[in-house]
């Protein structure tokens, strides 16, 4: 086993893992606050890929030449619109179901996922869509024969993910909104009694989760250049696996789980078989759920009678 191959796989894994981590945040925050698996989250990510491509096309239509400006514009527009998606879905579908049993929200979340996929398919056509490569090039680390190639895009993904996670951590631990969020997560009823508008906090959680998915969507679209209406499903399940691996409900857990799953997956596809890499990710999910359902950083669930 050569160390440079390992290094290359680690870089690929970190890139992939940051994306998983960003999406996993949406799952873990929603689960932490209302105990529900937001099955449609992967499709919100898919929507953000489409919106980012549309935003890029619009920017280039208006003749903007500066790439940083185009990227910034795309990122912001995608974050805003995807955040609105998160808010609208919560408002129209999940809020009426908040006081029902656990199955109803999950089933309607599957419904939302179907609706989003099919709606995009009808509206944008079933073909694979793409964006032009904006950030090209790479640099090499190591000797001329043995090197690790790092694309600038990968570097950007890792940097932006770390930045986004940093901002989120500050938001949760340093602001009033974050304090209210943590209070609601610990005990919703008590938080309500203490005057926290928990309904608003829950809406905000959906918005934040969707915004994180939007960042992931923009980055993935720029990196791979192609996407279709079905990408949300597999990535969604993998991000959920990442959230479970890190301990669902725990924010650092989601980031850690994402990175870990990304690295494991690229090591597996590098050394064992790339055909079975999805099988591997699902197996990780199943095994974690069976043997350590609380994950790496999560607290074990206490059953209240």
């Amino acid at each position: 086993m050569d160390s440079y191959i390992l290094g290359q796989q680690l870089v690929n894994g970190l890139t992939l893992g940051s994306i998983y981590g960003l999406i996993a945040i949406g799952y873990t925050m929603v689960y932490g606050i209302i105990g529900m698996i937001n099955f449609a989250h992967g499709d919100v990510y898919m929507i953000s890929a489409y919106i980012s491509a549309i935003a890029l096309a619009v920017v280039s239509y208006f003749g903007v030449q500066s790439i940083p400006f185009a990227l910034l514009f795309t990122l912001i527009i995608t974050m805003i619109i995807t955040g609105m998606y998160g808010w609208s879905i919560e408002r129209t579908v999940y809020r009426p179901l908040r006081s029902t049993n656990r199955l109803a929200p999950l089933i309607s979340a599957i419904g939302v996922s179907l609706v989003l996929q099919n709606y995009v398919q009808i509206a944008q056509g079933p073909n694979v869509q793409g964006v032009p490569t904006l950030i090209d090039g790479s640099f090499r680390v190591g000797t001329p024969e043995h090197f690790v190639q790092i694309k600038y895009m990968s570097l950007m993904i890792i940097v932006i993910s770390i930045l986004a996670m940093g901002i989120l951590t500050w938001l949760i631990h340093g602001t009033s909104l974050g304090r209210q969020f943590r209070a609601t997560q610990q005990d919703r009823k008590m938080a309500t009694i203490l005057g926290i508008n928990t309904t608003r906090i829950i809406s905000m959680v959906f918005v934040i989760g969707s915004v994180m998915a939007a960042i992931a969507g923009v980055l993935v679209t720029l990196n791979y250049g192609s996407f279709d209406f079905f990408i949300g499903f597999i990535v969604g399940i993998k991000a959920f696996s990442a959230a479970v691996l890190g301990g669902i409900g725990s924010l650092p857990g989601a980031m850690l789980g994402g990175l870990l799953l990304g690295i494991l997956e690229s090591l597996f596809s590098g050394y064992v078989s790339s055909d079975y890499k999805d099988v591997f990710s699902f197996s990780v999910l199943v095994l974690v759920l069976i043997f350590k359902p609380s994950g790496l950083l999560g607290r074990p669930a206490v059953e209240k009678v």
């Binding site: 029902t100 109803a104 089933i107 599957i110 179907l114 499903f233 055909d275 199943v286």
Partner: protein, 507 residues
């Protein structure tokens, strides 16, 4: 309750109708809809470019227009709620929604159902349609298939209706009669040329979904375990037939007997580790298992044929084959009976076996509901902690539900493989699981009749409404959401089997 109502009344009276507020609400809703849906619908990507369609048709994929529609609708409802009668109306609608299910339980009297008259009427209506079909006004195959469907629903109602102990049971005679009719009528109709092979195939597929719906209903509806990978067992049954024929020279009948055992075993293997888990974790793990099985079937090209799939054998009639020329040492069905060759015999035969098996399954599953095992499923669904404290082994009870569901799925898989004559992994994707789940959800979790109607509707209606094929999944999704919000108990609310009260005179 009364104080709340009085308070509402005071509020509505004191404020009157606030147009400005309504306008504000409406415009916010409209603008939100435009911003959310506009980019996706009105700006269509084309390579690296896009096209702007401000007046796109149909209106469903026009975010700008939808924005106006939503704004108008919001304005209307906002004004409606501010009037006294509109407020009362909305309250009444809201009472049926998911939020207030608690009061729903306490409702002392249930609405009386008129299912038998409804079935009689629909049978009459379909008979009229069929006579119309004979004159050529509408498609005759569809019309006669409708008769069979109504008969089947009637039969399943007769099997599953709760019968009071000690009371005369009129179904004792009519159920066998209905069964005989459902069995013989297709033969007669097909031979008379009124039920072409296409519709026999459609009916077969519908019955396969009935079987799948019934199987998943045990798991989701009765035991309350959300299984999103149910299609795995369906795949196990189908691939067992195909692989068995390929490698072990197994026929349809052998597979039909052995597939349930294999499916039960795989259900136990998959189920045992995951059943200790909490509700939604179970959903995700089963989803993971389902996908793992599909991915393995796709990638293991040497053994399963990969994405190209593999052939599955047709059933034989006591060793007689339905093909035009039989294989070595066998005789074709049509030469044995001195009939002209027709592909219809095979379709008819598969339909008839399936019909008999679905009827047997119905009877069996219906009996299960009365038995301690069925009651423990439902009890465990309602309150797991209470059941465990009463000494019910929750893992075993859940496992039995999981395995029985798997058995049903496996049988359905065998029929699917033989019906298609060919299988590949794309028939067993996640959407298939969701389709079966939506059958169970729409039919009313736990209600046999509802599930049968939902299965027939969801599989046969798309055949009739081919124009809306693109919107099929969209409609499924919307129905799932709306059912969960407004009718969480499904179209037909399950009726729990009850025994007559044994308290003679409680005074």
């Amino acid at each position: 309750m009364t104080t709340a109502r009085a308070l509402d009344a005071i509020q509505t009276q004191s404020t009157g109708i606030d147009f400005l507020h309504s306008l504000k609400e409406a415009s916010i809703a409209g603008i939100l809809t435009m911003v959310v849906l506009g980019p996706i619908t009105n700006l269509v990507l084309d390579q690296y470019d896009f096209h702007f369609y401000p007046l796109r048709e149909p209106i469903l994929v026009n975010g700008i227009m939808l924005g106006f529609v939503v704004a108008l609708g919001r304005l209307f409802f906002s004004l409606l709620v501010q009037t006294r009668s509109g407020h009362d109306l909305m309250q009444r609608i809201g009472r049926h929604s998911a939020v207030s299910t608690d009061t729903d339980h306490d409702r002392p009297r249930r609405k009386k159902r008129h299912i038998v008259p409804a079935l009689t009427l629909s049978l009459l209506a379909s008979a009229i349609l069929a006579t119309l079909g004979l004159t050529g006004a509408i498609h005759k195959g569809a019309a006669f298939a409708l008769i069979l469907v109504v008969l089947f629903v009637w039969l399943s109602y007769g099997i599953s209706v709760p019968k009071r102990r000690g009371e005369p049971n009129s179904w004792r005679i009519s159920v066998p009669l209905l069964f005989a009719a459902g069995f013989l009528l297709p033969i007669v109709l097909n031979q008379a040329g009124l039920l072409p092979k296409v519709w026999l195939s459609n009916l077969t597929l519908a019955l396969i979904y009935v079987l799948l719906g019934l199987g998943l209903n045990i798991v989701v509806g009765m035991a309350g375990l959300l299984d999103l990978g149910y299609v795995a067992f369906y795949a196990v049954g189908a691939y067992f037939l195909a692989l068995g024929a390929q490698y072990l020279e197994m026929g349809f009948w052998t597979a039909l007997v052995l597939a349930p055992l294999l499916a039960a075993a795989s259900g136990a293997i998959l189920g045992f580790p995951v059943l200790r888990m909490h509700g939604d974790y179970l959903a995700i793990v089963t989803l993971g298992f389902g996908e793992i099985i599909r991915l393995v079937l796709t990638n293991w090209v040497d053994f399963t044929g990969g994405p190209n799939g593999m052939p599955a054998p047709a059933p034989t009639f006591f060793g007689l084959e339905f093909s035009r020329r039989a294989s070595e040492g066998h005789e074709p069905f049509h030469t044995f009976f001195n009939l002209p060759y027709s592909g219809d015999y095979k379709a008819l035969f598969i339909y008839l076996i399936l019909f008999a098996i679905v009827a047997i399954m119905l009877r069996f599953l219906n009996r299960l509901r009365y038995m301690p095992i069925g009651r423990s499923w439902e009890a465990l669904r309602e309150d797991e902690v209470a059941c465990r404290s009463l000494g019910i082994n929750h893992v075993n009870v859940k496992l039995s539900a999981f395995m029985l569901g798997a058995v049903t799925g496996g049988v359905a898989g065998v029929f699917f493989a033989t019906y298609q004559g060919f299988i590949n992994p794309s028939s067993f994707n996640f959407f298939e699981s969701v389709l079966i789940l939506s059958i169970v959800v729409l039919g009313g979790m736990g209600s046999t009749l509802g599930i049968i109607i939902a299965a027939l509707a969801l599989t046969l209606l798309p055949e009739l409404l081919r124009d809306f094929a693109a919107y099929r999944v969209l409609i499924f999704g919307l129905l799932m959401i709306m059912m969960m919000i407004w009718r969480p108990y499904g179209l037909i609310r399950p009726r729990r089997p009850t025994f007559p009260a044994r308290v003679p005179h409680a005074q």
